[in-house]
Symmetry: C2
């Protein structure tokens, strides 16, 4: 790990003045907890970069980032920087020219220095430092480029991981509002004048797009993102809003984050997510038992802890409620002759309320609810859980098997023999793990014997195997076809 900028008071002050104390705090934590180095830098998936630029260019969106799922050896998972594309603010008419230049001259070089400090801190080499190539760094670039050093572990709740976990698109109209879930990027976004941020879940990560404009939720945008990013794309069928309404996230001042519920996408036959309407909620729905005191409808607490905490707190909520708040549709009339056991009655009421809240919460997390019956719901939940368990067991078995396969050492033997002036290194490995195995097998099938074989390296990191073979009958063209078809079957 490179130089720690916060150890030098001067540097720390510099970075802090540019990014703010919160961001510095985050980077100090990130660097010292070694999270970023724990996760292997993901191999860039081909096509993502193209997709991201397709999303950004010619649209209202300023940048697009692909946060990729990465798993460390210790088994922890996180969303880390996978790829990104940012519109070049120079030359665009979107941003006011004067303002932009002012901004650049105001602190561009200081930002550049700060960025380089951070870059060095995370072990970046000098040559691949993007900041070094820029003469000055704008606040947008600052926001965008620092993103590379962010990580969203699934342990801690965060907006990106939430989008991934629920596989629902999250539309943030005011990035400043969800700072606690978005770490210090929220304040950086504020500096970069980002008004709208959207998180679109994919199979292997989350695509974040941001815009300087204040944009309201638009399913077409989500659709556009999903279709643009071709590899690993989650192909949505349709995007019905489950309850036909937008729901503001619970939790005090978290502001106007709206969630559009896209259907859970499961390509497995286990989860045929067809009938997703939850129509029966009209019957027992939130209008009855899941309404909090301010009249706001809370259906989906935003995260796991959210569900539980909101459930815990519900008790206190209803304690404050007056007695006639609920429109009793069913059940016995109050008929309170005496007032001696009124305490008991109230306690029982709360117990029932709590139970019902949990039933509604359970309905929220279980797909494919056959009937809105409590008993049926429990049955569906049980079936769902066992299905999930089964799926996990199978997937773990698969993972275990690829692990075993990779554990079998690629190189079985290594031998070095010294000679007069030079030495001979012999490295042997099983054929089936060798990249050219299929070529070799194809040659064997056609009874081709290599007379001479050679292996060499090119500058751009490629290994070139050269075989000289005897052409029997002279049909070399035919052989080439055979080899290529064997290769790309």
């Amino acid at each position: 790990m490179g130089e720690k900028f916060w150890l030098i008071e001067e540097d720390k002050a510099l970075v802090e003045s540019v990014l703010g104390a919160e961001a510095v705090q985050f980077f100090v934590w990130l660097a010292s907890s070694n999270i970023l180095s724990e996760f292997a830098a993901p191999a860039g998936v081909a096509g993502v970069q193209d997709g991201l630029s397709k999303v950004v260019e010619g649209s209202d969106w300023t940048y697009a980032i692909y946060w990729q799922v990465s798993t460390s050896k210790s088994g922890k998972s996180a969303l880390i920087w996978g790829d990104g594309h940012c519109r070049d603010p120079r030359g665009t008419e979107k941003m006011d020219g004067n303002d932009y230049r002012d901004q650049r001259f105001a602190g561009g070089d200081r930002r550049k220095q700060a960025l380089q400090k951070i870059h060095a801190c995370f072990g970046g080499a000098e040559d691949d430092n993007v900041a070094a190539k820029l003469d000055s760094v704008s606040e947008l670039e600052m926001f965008y480029l620092t993103s590379m050093y962010y990580a969203f572990p699934f342990d801690k709740p965060s907006t990106p991981s939430q989008a991934f976990n629920t596989s629902r698109t999250i539309w943030v109209s005011d990035p400043r509002s969800c700072s606690e879930n978005y770490q210090s990027r929220a304040s950086l976004a504020k500096s970069a004048r980002i008004e709208t941020v959207v998180f679109v879940p994919f199979k292997s990560g989350v695509v974040e797009i941001g815009s300087g404009k204040s944009l309201s939720e638009d399913p077409n945008v989500v659709q556009m993102v999903k279709t643009s990013i071709t590899p690993n794309v989650v192909h949505p069928k349709t995007a019905p809003k489950i309850f036909g309404q937008e729901l503001s996230l619970g939790g005090g001042k978290s502001g106007p984050i709206s969630i559009s519920f896209s259907p859970k996408v499961e390509d497995d036959s286990l989860f045929v997510s067809d009938s997703y309407e939850l129509q029966a909620l009209a019957g027992y729905g939130p209008s009855n038992g899941y309404r909090s005191d301010d009249g706001e409808v809370k259906l989906f607490p935003q995260r796991n802890q959210g569900i539980l905490s909101s459930l815990e707190q519900a008790k206190d909520d209803s304690l404050m409620l007056s007695d006639d708040r609920r429109p009793r549709k069913r059940g016995r009339k109050p008929a309170n002759g005496r007032e001696e056991p009124l305490n008991h009655v109230e306690a029982e009421r709360q117990r029932r309320e709590k139970l019902n809240q949990r039933f509604y919460a359970l309905r929220a997390v279980v797909p494919n609810i056959s009937k809105m019956d409590k008993a049926s719901l429990l049955g569906d939940a049980i079936a769902y859980i066992t299905d999930l368990q089964k799926k996990i067991r199978i997937m773990e078995a698969e993972r275990e098997m690829v692990n075993d396969r990779q554990k079998q050492p690629a190189v079985t033997d290594i031998d070095l023999q010294e000679r007069h002036e030079d030495a001979v290194v012999q490295v042997s490995c099983p054929l089936d793990v060798h990249p050219v195995s299929r070529v070799i097998k194809a040659m064997r099938e056609h009874q081709i014997v290599a007379q001479e074989s050679d292996v060499s390296l090119t500058e751009n990191g490629e290994v070139v195997h050269t075989f000289s073979i005897r052409t029997q009958g002279g049909d070399a063209e035919h052989l080439k076809e055979k080899l290529t078809t064997a290769l790309f079957n």
Copy 2:
């Protein structure tokens, strides 16, 4: 797919006389549905064979089979033959000599023929036919060798898949009894005089052991199996029985299958399965609400459909119950002055009963229940579901990523140039997928330039890379150390 034996009436009759109609039916289905060929033959995991033989030799057990999880391209998963070890009946004093010889002479050659028919039917080559090497096939060998052609898809319920799904050991004292879950292997086991079969779940499959003796459940045996099979072994902490009792599986005549509950093993921090005692069941436990009319305690229906079907059927069960069957501990006294609403009362009773049954079923599938509270149970179930969903999403992302990595072709380019009498084949591939990449990188790090490099094949399927390098300073020993450490870091 090879010759279909059942098309020739004579052959079909032969096989049927040996294996029985049920087994023939199964093989016809298996061969025509192409299931076996769909799943890639698993690469034999090193160490499993040793473990299996360790289990069998010097014990009461006759054979051991490792059923391995395999996933087809279509996404379906099944347990298929991974590896196996069977004790050689010849020379063992376990089996009565005369009886054994009689048995062999009785139909040994017919069995051999049948086995060869089946082998041919599933596309086996003649040379690796085990039956061909045997002069005669005993009924035990018949049972063991036909196992290779079995498959247990996770779609259909079966005892092996059940053991895997629940990751619980299943001890079958009477193989004939669970024929519907064990396909026709049950009748074959009967012919082979197998009295006890045990299924021990592992991370990537299930180990089945069988014995001609009638053995009662023994945790030490399970422990022995788990410790013997070293790779991918699930290391159990302790093996507490959850309810301190053995539970016979529900479902009519399914007989004395007993399940010993081994703890769910999760190496992920998500599922810390520590407190597994479910102590509060003493309070609300099955003695109260989950007792069926014959007094047998049903807690865990054996499979998913089992849960639901037993839940559905429970209604009918309790309809037959007399009114005073339950020891009412709580609640109001009957106090039935009039008998007019007795029907309504009974209906409500049933509804409550059904709900409670589902609560108990839910308790069975949710681990780590904090309190035995209904509300807490629901909360735990919700948290558990979201955790499972999160885990599945992450694992799917991982799988997607390794897919992408494998999709990137190992060989990027192939070129063939024809010359006078021979041709030159050039195959290039990226360095990092190459087995010797670490050696090459290590050589680069030490600024070693290969003067000559060569690649050749040995007879036993190994690729040997040979580099001739200049020894700078003559410390070849040092270099060799460097290379080996770089290789096995």
